[in-house]
Amino acid sequence: MGKLYDLLMRDYRLKEGLNACINCGTCTAVCPAAEFYRYDPRRIVDIVQSKDEEEIEKLLRSDTIWYCGECMSCVTRCPRKNAPGMIVMALRSLSIDLGYFIDSEKGRQQFLLTKDLCSNVLNYGYCVYPRLFDYAGHPEAGRVWEWEEKHLDDVFERLGANLDGSGPGAMRKIPKEDLDELKRIFDETGATARMENVRKAAEKKAAELGLSMEEFSRQVYSETGPQHYNH
């Protein structure tokens, strides 16, 4: 048994999510990603269960594992009680831990996701924080958000929220001692280490590409190559 497969099998999501796959394709049939990307979750499960080290490594370095939206629609369908979406999550974790994620365009997006979401959690105690959700970066949030963003305090107050206030309520300020606990959890369970690894790998990659971190971030955030699609 090869090394990558062994590493994968340490992940509880694989222990729970991989029984022998019979390649029936029910996962792919309902997969939101399979219709728009060059993506076939069935193939991913099949490659993992093949224990083919070379193929698994290719997968870990590829765009393929980053197409899934983790909606888990596949989980309902599998007649063998597999969880393809969970298997993808395990592959992603390993790809990040080994630094392979930086080799693919979609994998590199991990840099921004890790940076932004982790800092939201650590600084505010929320994954999403409305003051950082800007209309400029999210034009689809609509004209209504363009307006709301400018009047966030007024709108939130009218809607009975407690934006950055003390005590309970929607979007309250989460006390410092609780944020400290989140930080300690991050340190203890590998999230802080992951943030560091991802950042370093991104900096190295940006340097390789001759880009500043701002340029690298912009590229990762907005650019998408034609290779992901079927047409």
Partner: protein, 351 residues
């Protein structure tokens, strides 16, 4: 004195075993819980691979039953070991002393509504293999309305751990191919699809049937399990699967979807099993003494098994199994209840 043999179940296995045991000179009593003999065979129209009418096969079985006492609408109320035999009380008040018992309780069709995502019992044009056979027999089913696009879904309730059945039901692939051809013959303009995972064309002439389905009937075989069915606004069905050969998700609108409901251990058989204290395997079918050499024997002396009570079987498999059971019972009875002439022989040898 002739030995009594009790057969539980009046389907093909029970009928064939009954006729053979009668010919071997035993007193045979057959008990059937429903009101007719023939089991699922009586509800079927034609049989694969050759299209033999099911009624002809059933008539042949029934025609050989001369002398076999049959009680329909009759349940086993209790069954207890009494010496070498079994004391059996029937729901019609009759008590029988049976020297051997054959359990031929068959199978139940998987309840297709349990496969919720296929919408049987919810969508207007989703039927099962059994519904389609009934339609072939009667020409009546309001769900079948001049369909131009028809789909067959293999492995419904088979090879599916979520519906509690890991194993293959053996007959569905061939049934689907047979029914697909029959539908094409009935509706020549229809485009017909079979959604399969593996086509298990294991029997003699089955592969020929498959070839004919492709070549002569233009049936399209798509390798991918149907994942989801929904109903369109016009009442047609929208079916999703992956075409695993193309590695792409696939969608098709159909006017009729036929679910190949598989075999499950029969509920009435389970009841008999618990009366007898007989072991089931994990799949719910009865355990046999040896899968290879003693398929028709249970682990309880004097209790024999035949047909789909020990797992999915085709009709010819079932009939062969029933004949095997008759031979096994004959052997058992002559060993345990030596007859007069045997006794003479025994004395001769002993003295």
């Amino acid at each position: 004195m002739r030995n009594n043999v009790l057969i539980i179940g009046g389907g093909p296995a029970g009928l064939e075993a009954g006729a053979n045991l009668q010919r071997l000179g035993y007193n045979v009593l057959l008990v059937e819980h429903s009101n007719t003999l023939g089991g699922h065979l009586g509800k079927w129209d034609r049989l694969f691979p050759g299209g033999t009418p099911a009624s002809a096969a059933l008539d042949k079985l029934l025609g050989s039953m001369d002398g076999v006492k049959c009680f329909t609408d009759t349940e086993i109320q209790s069954i207890n070991r009494l010496g070498k035999s079994y004391n059996v009380i029937l729901s019609n008040g009759i008590t029988v002393l049976a020297d051997a018992v054959l359990v031929a309780t068959g199978f139940d069709l998987f309840q297709a509504e349990k496969k919720e995502e296929y919408g049987y019992g919810i969508y207007d044009h989703v039927i099962t293999n059994a519904d389609l056979e009934l339609y072939f027999k009667t020409g009546l089913d309001t769900r079948i309305n001049a369909p131009r696009k028809i789909g067959f879904v293999h492995c419904v309730g088979s090879r599916d751990e979520k519906s509690g059945c890991r194993s293959c039901s053996k007959v569905c692939c061939a049934t689907a191919v047979k029914q697909a051809c029959e539908m094409k013959a009935a509706f020549p303009d229809a485009q017909i699809y079979c959604f399969y995972m593996d086509l298990r064309m294991f029997g003699r002439h089955y592969e020929d049937m498959y070839l004919e389905a492709q070549r002569d009937y233009g049936i399209r075989f798509i390798r991918g399990r149907v994942a989801e069915v929904s109903e369109n606004i016009d009442g047609s069905l929208s079916v999703k699967a992956e075409d695993t050969v193309s590695s792409k998700p696939l969608k098709v609108s159909l006017d009729l979807l036929v679910l190949m409901a598989g075999m499950r251990p029969s509920v009435s058989g389970q009841r008999i099993g618990s009366l007898l204290g007989m072991q089931n395997e994990k799949d719910g079918y009865f355990e046999v003494l040896s899968e290879i050499t003693a398929q028709q024997r249970s682990s309880i002396p004097g209790i024999f098994l035949a047909g789909a009570a020990t797992g999915p079987k085709t009709i010819p498999d079932t009939l062969a199994d029933a004949r095997g059971a008759a031979t096994q019972i004959d052997k058992y009875l002559s060993d345990i209840f030596p007859k007069a002439k045997d006794l003479k022989q025994l004395i001769k040898t002993a003295w």
